[in-house]
Amino acid sequence: MPNKTIQVDLLARVEGEGAFKVVVENGRVTGTEFRIFEPPRFFEAFLRGRQYSEAPDITARICGICPVAYQMSSVHAIEAAFGVNVDDRIRTLRRLLYCGEWIESHVLHVAMLHAPDFLGFEGAFDMAAAGHDAAVKMALELKKAGNEIVSVLGGREVHPINVRVGGFYKAPAKRDFAHLRESLLRARDLAERFVDWTASFDFPDKERDYTFVSLRHPNEYPMNNGQIVSNRGLNIAASQFNDHFREEHVAHSNALQGFMTDGSAYLCGPLARYNLNRHLLSERALAAAKRAGLQETCLNPFKSIIVRAVETLYAVDEALRIIDGYEEPDAAYAEVVPRDAVGMAATEAPRGLLFHRYRLTADGAIAEAQIVPPTSQNQPTIEADLASFIGDLLDRPEDEIRHLCEQTIRNYDPCISCATHFLKLDIVRT
């Protein structure tokens, strides 16, 4: 096989700046590096000395795509430290807010960032111009319903202002949901079609035997609460996270990489949630999953695009259920009394498990913060996927290899702003 170099200077359609490098020696893939060039922003450092009450607003700024996830993990971790009990109605409102973020984030990724890979376009704009405008319009309206949840409950779509430790600054009145309910009813039909649309794509025939990690709750599809579980028997509280997972700093990335403590890679995100919690989907979402041909366990990461659509439908369904059963809480938030303590929590960001740990002092100051975003955790698995999937393609045209590499990386909806961000594909052959 001739020696050659394939390079893409900036991987498009991801949130952030990343790069990729494949080393091919004598026709075999001998190394893969998923590189994150997103400039470091040092959140864990400047959280030190801030008040606990500032954590939801500050950590939201890590990512404009999934700020709710940061707000949720931070408030749960701080409440765990201070022993705050939150009213069940507040807990349900948080779940509603998360539904909104899952919808807007998943639809953005599925329709605007990932679908062009399957349909052979550069992006959603040329995809719309080439006859897929109905699909793009459907996605935009669906996404808008997700954003409407976040803006009604959170104040605005990006960096919502209504989340505080203990609950919300202001709890909505039932009537505030009237217009939203209509939007969600329309969105539910759109979401059904959205699932069918993704199921109509052609999928590369690629599977791997992954370790899946997600939250699991006894009676709801996981968002804010639950044990951290895996398909290999892991079952721990979020407070044990650091006993079972570790982060490593490698030279090629500005993001730390997550591993199990035995050094193995794992996968978090929609595919893991689905495989570990399928039985907790709503009837409608489960029916759509079956119609889309998803088996009980899905090992093909390219089909994560269908799983995202199924989770979108689930989130619309769940949001409607919450709104229909909504009762205004007696107080918008629980009182919080600081103390010297450590608190940890994990919630399910659209892209997967998001772990926060805070050491706090009795005057309410943050002494230490640790944040482990899903894209950091998925980096080693992305590298392994690339090594595995392109091995039998090395004699194909470079464009085709490059395309499959990009598509493989986008299976994870990598949020490089979160993990820190810049995708550059670099295949070195010697």
Binding site: F43, G123, L256
Partner: protein, 258 residues
């Protein structure tokens, strides 16, 4: 250039992606906007190389690495009009907190192998590096203001983004003043309008996402905050968030350093 669509590039520096996402969040207007301009470069949304000249460059994020300091020069040289979107690009963003800190110590807190990290000691606004033709405020920007900005650009007029205070928007919205009625600390009197006074509408004080208004009297506000019981540390932190490097906020934060 009559009849020819303006060629637009959307560029990202150190940021959270939220401001450029606001463009994709314009669900009702997005396809119309995409039809009125030629989105030639927007890596978050589409695969296309950064080549050639732009009629309009929209820039998100602040300059925090040597690579970014170089990149912004090249964009400026190739753009007729350069507009910054959001607090990071117009003032440095929350990452400008490192300007007041020891960056080596920061790196050691976050990264096990600090020698792998290349970063400047400061996070600075785009206008510290090149001429900026217009600045859109906010952390994040308002998508309504973004649509206004693009419409104004296409029509060849100045965008309507009033530089008065959030306090004025709050009065127009008919909210009860949270500072007067509840003693809640609020930056509304010194913060640039644009969000529609969201926070007071949700029973909380403004925390300054849009940065300083024109000619803000920050010292007077601090006096009132202090009278209401806020400690120097609290006032310092209030001015030390997403626009900490905007001169008026930076000076006021410094005046109350613990």
């Amino acid at each position: 250039m009559a009849g020819k669509k303006p060629r637009v590039g959307v560029f990202k520096f150190s940021s959270c992606d939220g401001c450029q996402l606001s463009l994709l969040d314009c669900e009702d207007e997005l396809l119309a906007v995409a039809g009125a301009i030629d989105i030639a470069y927007f890596p978050e949304a589409t695969r296309a190389d950064d080549v050639g000249h732009y009629d309009l460059a929209l820039v998100e994020g602040s300059v925090t690495t040597p690579h970014e300091a170089k990149a912004i020069q090249s964009i400026r040289e190739r753009a007729t009009s350069l507009i910054t979107i959001g607090a990071c690009a117009t003032s440095g963003g929350i990452q400008a907190l490192k300007n007041m800190a020891d960056v080596k110590a920061y790196t050691a807190i976050v990264y096990a192998r600090p020698e792998f990290i290349v970063t400047l000691d400061t996070a600075t606004p785009i206008s510290d590096h090149v001429k900026v033709d217009f600045e859109l405020r906010g952390c994040p920007i308002s998508k309504h203001q973004l649509i206004e900005l693009i419409s104004a650009y296409v029509a060849g007029r100045k965008p309507q983004t009033p530089p008065h205070s959030t306090c004025i928007e709050c009065k127009l919205a008919g909210h009860v003043c949270v500072m007067v009625s509840k003693g809640v600390a609020c930056l509304g009197p010194v913060t640039h309008a644009g969000c529609g006074a969201l926070c007071p509408g949700y029973n909380r004080g403004c925390y300054g996402c849009f940065g300083p208004k024109e000619t803000p009297n920050t010292a007077s506000l601090s006096g009132q905050l202090s009278e209401n019981g806020a400690s120097a540390g609290t006032i310092h932190r209030l001015f030390s968030t997403f626009n900490v490097n905007a001169p008026a906020f930076r000076a006021e934060a410094k005046a109350h350093a613990e």
